[in-house]
Amino acid sequence: MKSFALFKKDISSELRTRYAINALAMFIIVTLSIILFSIGNERISQSLTGGLFWVIIFFTSMSGLSRVFVSEEERGTSLTLQLIATPSTVFSGKLLFNLILVFAMNTVIAILYSALFEAFILRNFALFLVSFILGNIGLAFASTIIAAIISKAGAKGTLYPVLSFPILLPLILTSLQLTLFAMDGTSFETAKFELMIVVCYDVIILTVSYMLFDFIWKE
């Protein structure tokens, strides 16, 4: 309940300040436009289409998901949060906020992407949906703990993509493979190994995040 109250506070704050939403919306529009202009009338291969889809998701995450902790640190309100909540409450509340943001952001990307790119045809939609959900959960988990780490550092802007790249690489590559499987029409049985990797990634990141957060949060 306490985490949900923090989540409610963050949603309400976000709707008033538009700290992350504007950055994410602009990034999605600009990135999609640049890719469309650079491709022109060329036909791109299926694997490239799947790759570009996850590239957009990765970089959009870089532009907005760190705000969840960085905004508290920049405004000086993280101390206030330390005074009213336990570290696990703070982490759960922020994680919930990032989960909603990731799902909203990536759903918009997926809809726009399928509308704008002809080659993005999903032959096994159920597989895509499962991998999309698992990938988004992993993305939200990892980006929340990375945001907490970099919010305490000086060069926040540069540190986020640098730290995210090695941590998110296994997730992005496996999710990309699953998207390609979904585009090929591969069955769940064949994609089982990749699905297990993403599930394991999500579980490991979540466990490590809760174990680490106490040390990161308290100076």
Partner: protein, 209 residues
């Protein structure tokens, strides 16, 4: 009445190689007003943060007891009220919204009567529905007092409590300190002689280098 006590045992703090203070020992029981004095940079705010469990000492320890039982670190925030210049409330919310969210996040019911009383006491009731960003620094300081008191803490920590306050605001604070000092522990970190004159016991951080 619950009996709260705070014990500091050989508390040291260093930042890198720089020693802030060392060997701080004290035991505070309820109904105490404790002062921390010292020039700028002597570590008053650092000691306040250690007492408030916001940062850890480099060595030594602080023990918070309630009715003879040590309070767990993760429960401490519900027993402590802090007012300080480096505490920031959410500018995009009104005073009422801020206090409401703080209650919810703490997991305590929003006591409207108590909050309204505090808003009245600190002369903010008529501005309770205004965004905090429209407040003057003195009004923000008064709102911080309400934030520090709304959950009825047994340990009230005041770092530079009268900064930004006008004479009327200072009077309210002095009355509050006297009142809280009869039933709880109040810690005041300040250089103001008037603030420190309220204390039963004072430590000067210059003596702990």
């Amino acid at each position: 009445m619950s009996e709260y006590s705070l014990t500091a045992e050989l508390v040291n703090k260093t930042y890198g190689r720089r020693l802030i203070f060392s060997g701080i020992n004290f035991k505070l029981n309820f109904s105490t007003i404790f002062g921390i004095s010292g020039p700028n940079g002597s570590g008053k705010s650092t000691l306040v943060k250690i007492i408030a469990n916001l940062i850890s000492p480099s060595s030594g320890k602080l023990v918070h007891n309630l009715d003879g039982t040590e309070i767990k670190s993760e429960q401490l925030h519900n027993h402590i009220g802090l007012v300080s210049p480096y505490l920031v409330l959410y500018d995009e919310f009104t005073a009422y919204e801020n206090l409401n969210y703080f209650s919810e996040i703490r997991g305590i019911p929003f006591n409207k009567r108590k909050i309204d009383n505090l808003l009245n006491k600190f002369l903010l009731f008529n501005r309770k529905d205004d965004l905090v960003k429209t407040y003057s620094s003195g009004m923000k300081q008064r709102l911080k007092f309400i934030f520090g008191l709304m959950h009825s803490p047994q340990l009230l920590i005041l770092d530079e409590p009268t900064s930004n306050l006008d004479d009327e605001g200072k009077e309210v604070v002095y009355e509050l300190v006297k009142e809280e000092g009869t039933k709880n522990i109040v810690v005041i970190a300040s250089n103001e002689k008037t603030d420190l004159s309220l204390c039963n016991e004072i430590i000067d951080l210059n003596n702990y280098k």
